[in-house]
């Protein structure tokens, strides 16, 4: 009866070859909402260490205009 949530495995711990880099904005976009906010780790299943790396990379990418700070309302 109790709801058992399946524990997600951190994709970066599973595949150690993948590097978290601010230049790889296409992979970083997967960890952002439609509004451009960073998704928390307990939702994506990323471990704490890699979540810190993701936030650091996202903030660097935002600084150099590879990722937005705010959502783009041009399509709306």
């Amino acid at each position: 009866m109790a709801f058992i949530s399946q524990r997600k495995i951190c994709p970066f711990c599973e595949n150690t070859e993948i590097r978290i880099d601010y230049k790889e904005y296409k992979t970083l976009r997967k960890f952002l909402t439609e509004q451009g906010k960073i998704i928390p780790g307990f939702v994506t299943g990323v471990c704490a260490r890699h979540q810190r790396q993701i936030t650091r990379a996202v903030k660097r990418a935002r600084n150099i205009a590879l990722l937005p700070y705010t959502p783009d309302y041009r399509d709306m």
Binding site: R19, E24, L67, Y69
Partner: protein, 197 residues
């Protein structure tokens, strides 16, 4: 030996010869500050995530260099006051992250070289799945789950076939056949729950 990389956004109005001059000038400044240039990568003109100095586009240039005593603060200060540079960011990196220079500046500017934004390992991840590709798959899965339920209702395709047989004459015939058709629909609606049961 410390390794650095600087990602610079150059004004989009600069093209070909002017772009090459500015890049060579930046390389010269790095060497003046005590650095040794390793790679120069031109990503080309890209749309910016937000406007910088009222510019929506910019030319991205990646510079990787190393040195023991590199005066980065002075380099950043000169980039700050340079009119051709919209934005810059200098980061210290490890030796593993240094990329190989695939082509000369001329060929890169010409645009004949295909650039790799990400290393090979992460490129596989990008090719396998992207957020834009995942969304329609999720929608298709939702549609498939609903399609599995729909075949149980057999009356709907029959109703859809009726308008397909004669679209134009139907509106003319409808007012005549309306009193005949109306009792049919409540019967079919009543039959549906019985059939489902």
């Amino acid at each position: 030996m410390k390794h650095y990389e600087t990602l610079i956004i150059i004004h989009p109005a600069l093209e070909t010869s002017h772009l090459k001059e500015t890049i060579l000038e930046l390389n010269g400044r790095i060497e003046k500050m005590g650095g040794h240039m390793l790679t120069t990568e031109i990503w080309g003109k890209r749309r910016l995530a937000y406007a910088i100095d009222k510019q929506k586009f910019g030319t991205y240039v990646l510079l990787q260099y190393n040195g023991e005593k590199v005066n980065i603060t002075e380099f950043n200060l000169e980039a700050e006051h340079d009119a051709n540079v919209l934005a810059y960011m200098t980061i210290r990196i490890e030796e593993d992250e240094i990329r190989e220079q695939k082509a000369d500046l001329d060929t890169q500017i010409a645009g004949t070289v295909t650039r790799d934004d990400s290393p090979k390992s992460s490129a596989k991840v990008d090719e396998d799945a992207s957020p834009e590709e995942e969304k329609p798959q999720d929608d298709q899965e939702v549609l498939k789950s609903t399609d599995e339920v729909q075949p149980e209702e057999t009356d709907e395709p029959e109703e859809s076939e009726k308008p397909e047989d004669g679209g134009e004459p139907e509106p003319e015939s409808e007012p005549e056949d309306a009193p005949v058709e109306e009792p049919e629909t409540p019967e079919t609606a009543a039959d549906n729950p019985e059939e489902k049961r």
